[in-house]
């Protein structure tokens, strides 16, 4: 109930936003929504299934490049590019999940970390496709021949896609599938004993998580015109991970709230340049010391 009310307030606020906010504010809001989708993707694999994946930025990047190229080369409408980004990322996520199946805990985390680093290298060096170190210029997204040239124009698009993804992840959370993912997180042996195919669940989580990260990438291309491999490294993964953990691991509200709070925080911190690293570090430490279960843990876990 609380959640539904909050959501409605959020949507209303967001729509009100377009009428009076500057393009800059809308840009930030768009970025925050991409961050939300990224956090939701990571939530699926870490929060629900308990598998540590540290390659989220790589899947995000795959989504961006795929969507960007589909837009650039085929002139495809935005939803096709978006979906393409999600699907390619999901496919590669499936493959990586498959390779990582035998690994556990820290080994799994670190092998995906290595994959992420390798992907960033690939983005930087596969010049004919990604533009390599020059970055890739992305043509504006289109729908029915209409071009989304500004943040304001793209905003309704970004908002609706975000809401749809949020709804899907929420459904996942309350569904049997979600419950069985959590069972794998809690005890693989017990999960198997009640008939859950642990391998398939892990693969599903990996694939869905990468798919959602790819969608986030596609979403990014609807209001951004340029991507550079520098933005797709471990730093980015860490930021997403941080939002999920500080928001509250395993909680949907945590993932969304964490992404919002940290997205805005990051923007606010730009105003205190010389101290921002220290402040950011300090905030992380304090949150872990006094609210390790998440800044929204008091709202109740969902």
């Amino acid at each position: 109930m609380l959640v539904a009310l909050g959501l409605i307030a959020l949507i209303a606020g967001a729509i009100g936003l377009t009428s009076f906010a500057t393009g800059y504010v809308i840009y930030i809001v768009n970025l925050v929504m991409v961050a939300i989708v990224l956090a939701l993707g990571l939530h699926i694999v870490i929060g629900e299934c308990g598998q540590f994946s540290l390659a989220h930025a790589a899947f995000y990047g795959i989504g961006i490049y795929t969507a960007g190229l589909v837009t650039n080369l085929l002139g495809a409408p935005f939803w096709l590019s978006l979906l393409a980004g999600g699907l390619v990322a999901g496919l590669i996520g499936f493959f990586i999940g498959f390779l990582s199946l035998r690994m556990r805990d820290i080994y799994l985390a670190l092998s995906t970390f290595a994959f992420g680093e390798a992907m960033q290298w690939l983005f930087l060096n596969w010049t004919p496709v990604t533009g390599g170190p020059n970055g890739l210029n992305i043509k504006p997204a289109t729908l029915f021949g209409f071009q989304f040239l500004t943040d304001r124009a793209a905003f309704p698009l970004v908002l609706s896609v975000t809401l749809v993804i949020l709804a899907l992840v929420a459904v996942l959370h309350v569904s049997t599938l979600g419950r069985s993912l959590r069972a794998v997180r809690e005890s693989e042996i017990a999960a198997a004993s009640v008939g859950i195919n642990v391998t398939r669940m892990k693969l599903t989580a990996f694939t869905l998580s990468a798919f959602v990260a790819g969608l986030a990438g596609g979403l990014y291309t609807t209001f951004s015109t340029f991507i550079h491999p520098d933005s797709l490294g471990f730093q980015t993964t860490i930021i997403i991970l941080t939002t999920v953990v500080v928001g509250g691991m395993g909680s949907l509200i945590g993932a969304v709230g964490g992404a919002m709070v940290f997205g805005l925080l990051s923007e606010l911190l730009r105003q205190v340049p010389s101290y921002q690293e220290m402040i950011y570090g300090g905030i992380l430490i304090l949150f872990m010391m006094y609210a390790p279960r998440g800044m929204f843990s008091f709202v109740g876990r969902r």
């Binding site: 500057t22 393009g23 800059y24 504010v25 840009y27 930030i28 970025l31 930087l124 060096n125 010049t127 390599g132 170190p133 020059n134 970055g135 210029n137 040239l149 943040d151 951004s224 015109t225 340029f226 991507i227 550079h228 520098d230 933005s231 923007e267 730009r270 105003q271 340049p273 010389s274 921002q276 690293e277």
Partner: protein
């Protein structure tokens, strides 16, 4: 655009939006560059401003990441309603703001970003390369190696990033023109062990080695070259090595400097008479910063020429400036800053301001200028 009111303009002020890395890992590339431009604007204000208007600056941190550069630019343009932009120290991320700036029509003069990706193909309202463009760096070093050092086989170590891709393009062009062979080793700026590139160049028996990297890898390479007994001439391209004593200390021995040349973009060696006013002004403007170790940062003087460009263009645009007038005025500029090695000039088809560099021979103690100018011949040919 409504002719009545240009944004950022009042009868007494003109608002300029500045941005650069004021924090984080890339801070060294731009923090003091922003400060330098700012102190120059202050100086102009003290001297009466421009056509009776004071320059007002709004500064944003861009963290040298693409998303933050774009956020900073959008905030300056849409929220702060600045008249024009003056910012950007990191090459790859500034490109991210290109399309937006072009669409919004705001004049943008970069700080020290080489920004080749935003300068080629030329855009109507974007100007940059006020320290130098990477294309110019690459071409110039090859010119120097072939003409001055008579090298036929040239070892070329650059970064695997945007910086490196741009300077390599012009280096290849110039090498082909001058009939030299280029052996390229592209490394990651975060490299720890430079044995491989150096040893490979030694084994390839090159006549000279050009190092077009940041300071740390450049110093590691110099040191490694000494350890591996490479006795060919080494040219260090623009890379922020200003403190030459520190350079020698880091490399570990004067031995390593038997045959080393250093490319310089400033009009004279840092610390020389000619640039003294810049450093004095810095001390005056920022006494607290100046008291910190390593301040001003190496790139600090690079902030002056962009500020000069803006001041001159505003002066030329007359008492009723518009963005269009300012853009037209910048296109016409051609002046000697006294800070950079060569003149600063733009044209309707060329948005890169400064192309010249000079060379010193450095023996670990003394710097001896090498006479002559070594220019890049690469030009933008369309895509």
């Amino acid at each position: 655009q409504a002719p009545a009111a240009e944004p950022g303009l009042t009868a007494t002020t003109i608002k300029i939006g500045m941005f650069g890395p004021l924090s984080g890992p890339s801070m060294a590339y731009g923090f003091d560059v922003v400060n330098a431009a700012r102190m120059y604007f202050d100086k102009i204000n003290r001297e009466g401003g421009i056509h009776g208007r004071r320059i007002e600056v709004v500064v944003e941190d861009d963290r040298c990441t693409a998303n933050d550069v774009v956020a900073a630019v959008k905030k300056l343009v849409e929220q702060d309603q600045v008249f024009m932009l003056n910012g950007g120290s990191c090459s790859a991320p500034v490109v991210a703001a290109r399309d937006y700036v072009v669409r919004s029509g705001v004049p943008w003069v970069m700080l020290n970003a080489s920004g080749d990706g935003a300068l080629y193909p030329p855009q109507p309202n974007i100007f940059g390369a006020l320290s130098i463009s990477q294309r110019a760096v690459g071409g110039s070093t090859i010119e120097f190696a072939t003409r001055q050092l008579s090298a036929k086989r040239i070892g070329y170590i650059n970064h695997d990033d945007a910086y490196g891709a741009w300077n390599l393009e012009a280096a290849r062009f110039q090498a082909a023109q001058n009939g030299a062979e280029l052996i390229v080793e592209s490394i990651n700026p975060a490299i720890a062990d430079v044995t491989a590139p150096v040893l490979k160049l030694r084994a390839a028996n090159v006549d000279a080695i050009i190092i077009a990297t940041y300071a740390r890898p450049a110093q590691l390479i110099l040191k490694k070259a000494q350890e591996l007994n490479v006795n060919k001439p080494i040219v260090i391209a623009v890379n922020a090595i200003a403190n030459l004593r520190q350079l020698v200390e880091n490399v570990g021995s004067r031995e390593a400097f038997r045959n080393v040349y250093i490319q310089e973009l400033l009009a004279a060696a840092p610390g020389s008479e000619k640039l003294a006013w810049v450093y004095d002004l810095y001390k005056q403007s920022y006494p607290e910063l100046a008291a910190k170790p390593d301040h001003p940062q190496v790139y600090m003087p690079y902030g002056i020429p962009p500020a000069m460009v803006i001041v001159r263009a505003l002066q030329a645009a007359g008492p009723q400036p518009t963005r269009a007038k300012v853009i037209a005025a910048i296109e016409q500029l051609n002046f000697d800053s006294g800070v950079m090695a060569g003149p600063i000039s733009f044209s309707p088809t060329d948005r890169a301001g400064q192309k010249a560099s000079i060379y010193f021979r450095f023996d670990g103690q003394a710097m001896t200028p090498v006479p002559g100018v070594f220019a890049s011949r690469w030009t933008y040919q369309g895509q």
